[in-house]
């Protein structure tokens, strides 16, 4: 199982703040996970096309090539706007 979190405008758009997911064997990196989620119906289709989509693995910013494995906490979110 991996934990996936969605934040801010992405959370609203997807209508989900997060989920637990059994990681399929063929998914080994963020690019693979993104393809998996984008294959869902509705708003999920546009996930991979979100402009400047940011990703984190275990609370560290990561890019599409980042490896993921069982137990990881993955997050998807738009560019940050704090401060």
């Amino acid at each position: 199982m991996i934990k996936i979190l969605y934040f801010a405008s992405l959370r609203e758009k997807l209508g989900s703040g997060g989920e637990s997911l059994e990681l399929p064997d063929e998914v080994s990196d963020l690019a693979g996970l993104l393809a998996l989620l984008s294959a869902r119906d509705g708003e999920w289709r546009s996930l991979a096309a979100v402009k400047n989509l940011k990703m984190a693995v275990n609370q560290e910013i990561a890019d599409a090539s980042a490896r993921i494995c069982d137990g990881d906490e993955i997050a998807f979110f738009p560019p940050v706007t704090g401060g």
Partner: protein
């Protein structure tokens, strides 16, 4: 060397925070600080309300990482970073970054660096309410540019 890094819904007292920052180290001759407030206008629209979302856990880690990087670059003593989350109104305090050092050049540079990195790397998101409805604030190109100059 004891950093204060807090993410909280409550307001903070700037005078108290700066006093506690400087009380610990009599070598500190310089304190540079930045206070960010909710503006009543953004991108041409009046703002009546703002809410701040964050990524619990990652936020604190990201802030600690930014402060550690500042310590690697400048000879600074103590650092305070306080960032509010939740519902805020115009003029409310959002963020305080304060850095003490022996001399002002290092305090200023480290304070500005921490703000620039916080703006582009710490997982906070602003949503504001305007007469046209609520909207998520867009990331600013100028913030990315400001952060990039530290890569030189």
């Amino acid at each position: 060397m004891a950093d204060t890094i807090r993410v909280q819904t409550a307001d903070f007292d700037v005078g108290e925070e700066l006093a506690s920052l400087t009380a610990r180290d009599a070598r500190a001759g310089a304190v540079a600080s930045f206070l960010g407030l909710v503006r009543d206008i953004n991108e041409g629209n009046g703002v009546s309300e703002m809410s701040l979302e964050h990524y619990p856990g990652m936020t604190e880690k990201a802030l600690a990482g930014i402060v550690a990087e500042a310590r690697g670059r400048w000879d600074i003593y103590d650092v305070t970073v306080i960032h509010r989350i939740g519902c805020l109104l115009p003029k409310d305090r959002i963020v305080l970054v304060a850095v003490s050092s022996a001399h002002r050049g290092e305090a200023f540079a480290a304070c500005e660096f921490i703000m620039d990195y916080l703006k582009t790397r710490a997982p906070f998101w602003k949503r504001e309410v305007t007469p046209d409805g609520a909207r998520w604030v867009d990331a600013r190109e100028s913030d990315s540019t400001a952060a990039l100059r530290w890569e030189k």
